[in-house]
Amino acid sequence: MSHFGYHGHYLRIDLETEQVTRVPLGTEVLRRYVGGSGLGTHLLLRENAATHEPLARESALVFAFSPLVGSPLTTSAKFAVVSKSPLTDRINDSLASSGFAMAGKQSGCDALVLVGRARQNSVLLLNDGRFELLPVRGLAGQGTNQTERMLREQLGDDWQIASIGPAGENLVRYATISHAGRHAGRGGSGAVMGAKNLKAIAVRGSQMTTWADADRLNAYAKDLARRSLGPETVKYRELGTTSNMLVFNRLHALPTRNFQQGSFAAADQLAPETLAVKRVTDRAYCSACTIGCEHRYSLEEDPATDSESVRLEYENVFALGPLCGIEDGHAVLKASRMCDQYGLDTVSTGGTIAFAMECVQRGLLDVPWLRFGDSEALWRAIDWIANRREIGDQLAEGSRRMAAWVGQDSLVFAPQVKGLEIPGYEPRALQTMALGFAVGTRGADHNRSSAYEVDFSERVDRRNLQEGSAALAIETEDKAALMDSLILCKFLRGVFQDFYQEAAHMLQLITGWDVTASELKSCASHMVSAKKLFNIRAGWHPCEDTLPARFFQEALDDDRQTKISQSRLGELIESYNQLRGWTREGYLSPQQEQEMGYDESGHCPGD
């Protein structure tokens, strides 16, 4: 079947038998799940992946592209990696950008579903749809940039490569998959790839999809590109995401020393306004992006001593800076670079180290060198995590598992929800976000929920959970689900007057479908329910939808009014569930499950 914007099939590759199956994707499925995260969730459900251990050979690892990839639309060169998370044992979808998305789609499929385990440590080649496994030669233990460099030298510059670093090879539960300095970062997809004995995936191809109305698509893309350079994105273009630092600090929303405080006395030193004065900086763009939010800093104040720059984002700076009590910009930059090279998610790395630092501070853990504020300790911990050395072996398990190992009620202050470490949005200071963290299918996550948008608006009192918070959290979560399936960069969101209307317009021009805004709204909501269905099949229980007890018991030192009411949060979770049409506890109703269309074997009649 021919489709505009799609190839109309995915490749299912069994790494053990080296058998490749081309599986058709029907219009009904594509229209319902669009691409990216949505399509990846559908494919995981089809594989019945919820019931498998994430690091077992049967588990599935999905790379999903989208109808927008390869189009002239700004920020559309993205791909989703979807699997069961070894960190949370729940669904995990993470996104990355650039050439891998375009070459992957041009290799002739809408998604790759990898199952089984290669017999030896390998590189998967996909050359215009032809599959081959090469033994890893000289790549084992190499960092992510170096792996890409070496493979390019070997294969040629027209290949695009996604790889894991030593952390993925050592099955660190929050290892990333990296491409061109960008990372499918959260939830440990790098460990899933490592467990499949894959060091890297290299793709190239020439199979372009076509657009239903190319002329109007070009005109629309030009207009969107123009708007992408407006006031809504100037912050990202000029300062990057690290410009959150001083605002969050002022609002006591900057998690500090493992969420013991909400502001950090040295925040100024880590803000881009200060870092940029002392260092050479430049700006980079994902492929096909007009915004260019990526700000890179030289590691040393004198760049001649170290020529490779470090990409800095708010999440790296918060997690490897204030969260661990680190004041020195150089220390944070070096720690960020280490995480990038080892292939470690910076939020989970910083979160788990900060948790261990608090355990040491409280005398619960006998690792005296692991102290808040000690840069050498931070670097050593990162190195030991990636190599699973000594205490690093426990840290590599993430804060929830580590708390179970430490015992002594340390789970109360382990900074995680469902096992995923909390990003740089202090829940007590941003309480709609707190609700979003609690109910999030992937765990504590600001990208899938985006409820902080509501807290930073006049619609709520950010330090109190309010009646309308559940509906507002749903609104931002649904919007994020669609953006992650189209896939478009979230930094574009302020540009849209009516996001669903414009998303429908884009899809009409690309696919020729008569899709409407209201259809896309229901698709978005359906995608969130599909993720929930996956979790339910993976053993989800309502008691997982909560926050660490610290946030109910302790007010912030620096803002004594802010604590979260546990009972209020419980009420709002019930409202959230009911507004989604689920049971009060958060299960899908039998009717919804039936409508979803997956039987227990993963078969879906829409295929």
């Binding site: 006031p231 100037v234 605002v247 740089g424 600001h446 985006s450 006049e458 302020g494």
Partner: protein
């Protein structure tokens, strides 16, 4: 009587300073008047972040870091701090 305006991110870049102490004649003023006072002092800030008495889309203000406000008629009392920042806080 004063209102202390704290600028963050792009507003700070355009104004070239982090804090501005604005004199107000009465017990209270409104966001729109503060925007106009800032416009006189910092034309670059106004060009990027304001539209007449209003904040451009993409910017928001907060009274004392607690309540977020956008309406130009929002009352600001003498002695209060007004924070001006980008509305999008994605990280």
């Amino acid at each position: 009587m004063f209102v202390l305006v704290e600028l963050f991110g792009i507003p700070r870049q355009r104004a070239g300073q982090a804090v501005v102490k604005l004199e107000v004649c009465e017990e209270s003023t409104c966001l729109g008047n503060i925007v106009l006072q800032l416009t006189k002092l910092f034309p670059d800030l106004a060009e990027e972040c304001f539209e007449g008495r209003r904040l451009q889309t993409g910017y928001i203000a907060s009274i004392g870091g607690k309540t977020f406000v956008r309406s130009p008629d929002t009352k600001i009392r003498a002695g209060e701090s007004l924070l001006v920042m980008s509305a999008d806080s994605g990280g």
